[in-house]
């Protein structure tokens, strides 16, 4: 077990090193930051001074080591646009993204689980077939387009056509409440109204996944002996499904929800852009489009670190929970 953890840690470190080299080579060596930072009519001497200040005169490997050293100290330079340290800018925006991701997780579970269980219990009813076809739509429809259509319907058309219909906001976060210094939207009514459309958009894909998973597991569990036994005992259908079946469905659902959380955070980039949600994803897109290099680099390093840690935790939990993984790693 210890060998496995050590090996996994080493692999995570290796991924970080490789990714940091890729980010460094990709972002730092393509294009000349000096041209972007100073005016084109500066003299050669001034250029040379800036070059030296940015350590661009050093050989590549020393530039890389300086970059790593700065990165380890959390120093990615200042944003060209905001003037703030890039790192601080990202941590400022992270809670908004996490809030959106959690809201969509809750929503996809609340909608997907009952639908999936129903489709599993009564596979041949028209309702179930509609749910399964709908889940294909949930997979297929491009996320950002669904967001746009929600804006069109709930922020533009319905309030225009029906007087008195509440107009849902299409951008921003609304009023927030500070909890331990972190601003949160879901505690105010205005914040909730802002959260609703982006959360629905982001939950669609995952909701469809949960529907299919819940249906498949329910169909697998139902013919099992313990369910038959519970029926023979004369338990109510409600108790059989609500307690015995649901418990077993929750295991794969919990696993997938955990694994997919990273995906949701990554996909929030799209949803945040559509709804102008002030999270890290929108920051990244804005920075890429406006060539704000320090912010892009800081985001990439942090998000790669986030994923490496997330994968590490998931893998370690797996090996704790599932003995087969442990044995396999020992055998190789």
């Amino acid at each position: 077990m210890i060998v496995y953890i050590v090996r996994r840690l080493m692999q995570a470190a290796l991924v970080m090193v490789v990714m940091s080299i890729l980010v460094f080579v990709g972002i730092y060596l393509i294009g000349d930051p000096v041209l972007m930072m100073i005016s084109p009519d500066a003299s050669e001497l001034e250029r040379e001074a800036v070059r030296r200040a940015l350590h661009l005169d050093l050989p590549m490997w020393r530039q890389y080591l300086l970059f790593v050293n700065d990165a380890l100290h959390g120093n990615f330079g200042r944003s060209f646009l905001a003037g703030q340290p890039a790192m601080g800018l990202i941590f400022e925006r992270f809670p908004a993204t996490l809030e959106l991701a959690f809201a969509s997780l809750v929503m996809s579970l609340a909608i997907g689980l009952p639908m999936g269980v129903y489709a599993g219990l009564r596979p041949s009813t028209p309702g179930s077939k509609a749910i399964m076809t709908g889940s294909i739509l949930g997979f297929s429809l491009p996320n950002f387009w669904v967001g746009l259509m929600l804006i069109m319907v709930f922020a533009v058309m319905l309030p225009d056509l029906i007087p008195g219909w509440p107009r849902l906001p299409a951008s921003g976060r609304g009023a927030t409440v500070d909890v331990l210094g972190v601003p949160l939207s879901f505690l105010t009514l205005d914040g909730l109204r802002h959260l609703l459309l982006p959360a629905i958009t982001l939950s669609l894909y995952k909701g469809a996944l949960i529907v299919r998973l819940a249906r498949a597991t329910a169909r697998e569990v139902l013919p099992m002996d313990y369910v038959k036994f519970a029926r023979a005992k004369g338990l109510s259908e409600r108790r059989i499904v609500g307690v015995h079946v649901l418990k077993n469905i929750m295991i794969p659902i919990a696993t997938v929800s955990g694994l997919e959380f990273g995906q949701t955070v990554a996909f929030a980039v799209v949803t945040e852009t559509v709804f102008s949600w002030p999270g890290v994803g929108k920051l990244l897109i804005d920075s890429i489009l406006l060539l704000d290099r320090p912010v892009v680099v800081a985001y990439l390093v942090i998000i790669v670190f986030f994923f490496v840690v997330l994968n590490l935790v998931v893998d370690l939990l797996y090996s704790v929970l599932d003995p087969r993984v442990r044995l396999e790693s020992r055998a190789t």
Binding site: N143, F144, I151, V269, V274, I288, I303
Partner: protein, 309 residues
């Protein structure tokens, strides 16, 4: 195939009467599901529109001489100022006929999707089959690499790559190929590991055939069914991913608008009520993707070897 499988099934006299080739079985099985056939119709329609865009479009949306700015943002059904064409799906901010723009956009979207999936399939198949056939250290190394690739979300990797590479259809293709090959590598290895222990591979080895021939002429054809299924799903994902990247502004250039780009262009007019500029390209995109998924979903059941009768 056992002898029992060759005997005519009593319940299906029609099938038994015709000689049952695998292809015929697949076609007839596929047609049993009406939803899947509907999906296939949508796919064929999308490909038709994309292939013949210059012939069937009322207007060439890239030719500025054709555009009359007075017609900009006309709602669906408007007749153009000079009375030559009717804008059935309206026009965008530059007075482009949306229907023509969608036909041309579908071309770019499908082109990017098909090319990237085929290239990723080729790379992934080579890596996966080599890993499965070689085994041992080569296998462990290649698959660890694939695992790491797959542990990062596709959209994120594509965004990172494009922020470095810049805009352009060629760059989008590179990013999509790099994102997708790992799926095929994993699937090809999984399928090949099953095939490797079968007798025909043993027989080929006994004939002292060269390894590349065993892998690519004998094992590969038997791995194809599962790879085709993965390819259809990946195709749908690739088209959606390209649209997403173009929507975010890091995908195709403005001069070659794909469907995602068209939707993005309409975004600014959406809040002022000009819904058609975003709405119809999205419908076209959804038709293509839903069609592929509906057909692919059923194709998986049909091609599944466990369903062989």
């Amino acid at each position: 195939m056992t002898d029992a499988a060759l005997e005519p099934a009593p319940l299906e006299p029609v099938v038994a009467a015709a000689p049952q080739t695998p292809l015929r079985r697949i076609v007839s099985d596929f047609c049993e599901n009406r939803l899947a056939v509907f999906g296939l119709v949508l796919v064929v329609l999308s490909i038709f529109v994309a292939a013949f865009a210059p012939l069937i479009s009322p207007q060439n949306p890239f030719d500025i001489a054709n555009l009359d700015l007075l017609d900009a943002k006309s709602p669906p059904g408007t007749v153009s100022g000079d009375g030559r064409i009717t804008y059935w799906l309206g026009t965008d901010g530059q007075a482009r006929d949306m229907m023509s723009a969608i036909f041309y956009g579908m071309r770019i979207s499908l082109f990017v999707g098909f090319v990237s999936v085929l290239a990723a399939l080729a790379i992934g198949v080579v890596v996966g089959l080599v890993a499965a056939y070689a085994g041992g250290r080569t296998d462990a190394f290649l698959m660890r690499f694939v695992d790491i690739m797959l542990s990062f979300p596709a959209i994120l990797v594509a965004l990172i790559l494009l922020s470095v590479l810049g805009k352009g259809i060629d760059k989008v293709l590179i990013a999509l190929i790099l994102v997708q090959w790992a799926y095929f590598a994993r699937a090809a290895r999984g399928a090949a590991l099953v095939e490797r222990n079968k007798e025909y591979v043993e027989a080929a080895t006994c004939l002292a055939l060269p390894p590349w021939r065993i892998v690519f002429r004998h094992m590969l054809p038997n791995c194809m069914p599962s790879l085709i299924v993965i390819a259809t799903i990946t195709l749908a994902r690739a088209i959606a991913l390209e649209a997403t990247l173009s929507f975010l502004g890091v995908g195709v250039p403005v001069t070659q608008p794909s469907l995602g780009m068209l939707i993005s262009n309409g975004f600014e007019f959406l809040l002022s009520g000009s819904y058609w500029i975003s709405f119809f390209p999205g419908v076209a995109l959804a038709i293509a993707i839903v069609g592929i998924n509906l057909a692919g979903d059923h194709l998986r059941d049909v091609l599944n070897p466990r369903n062989l009768r």
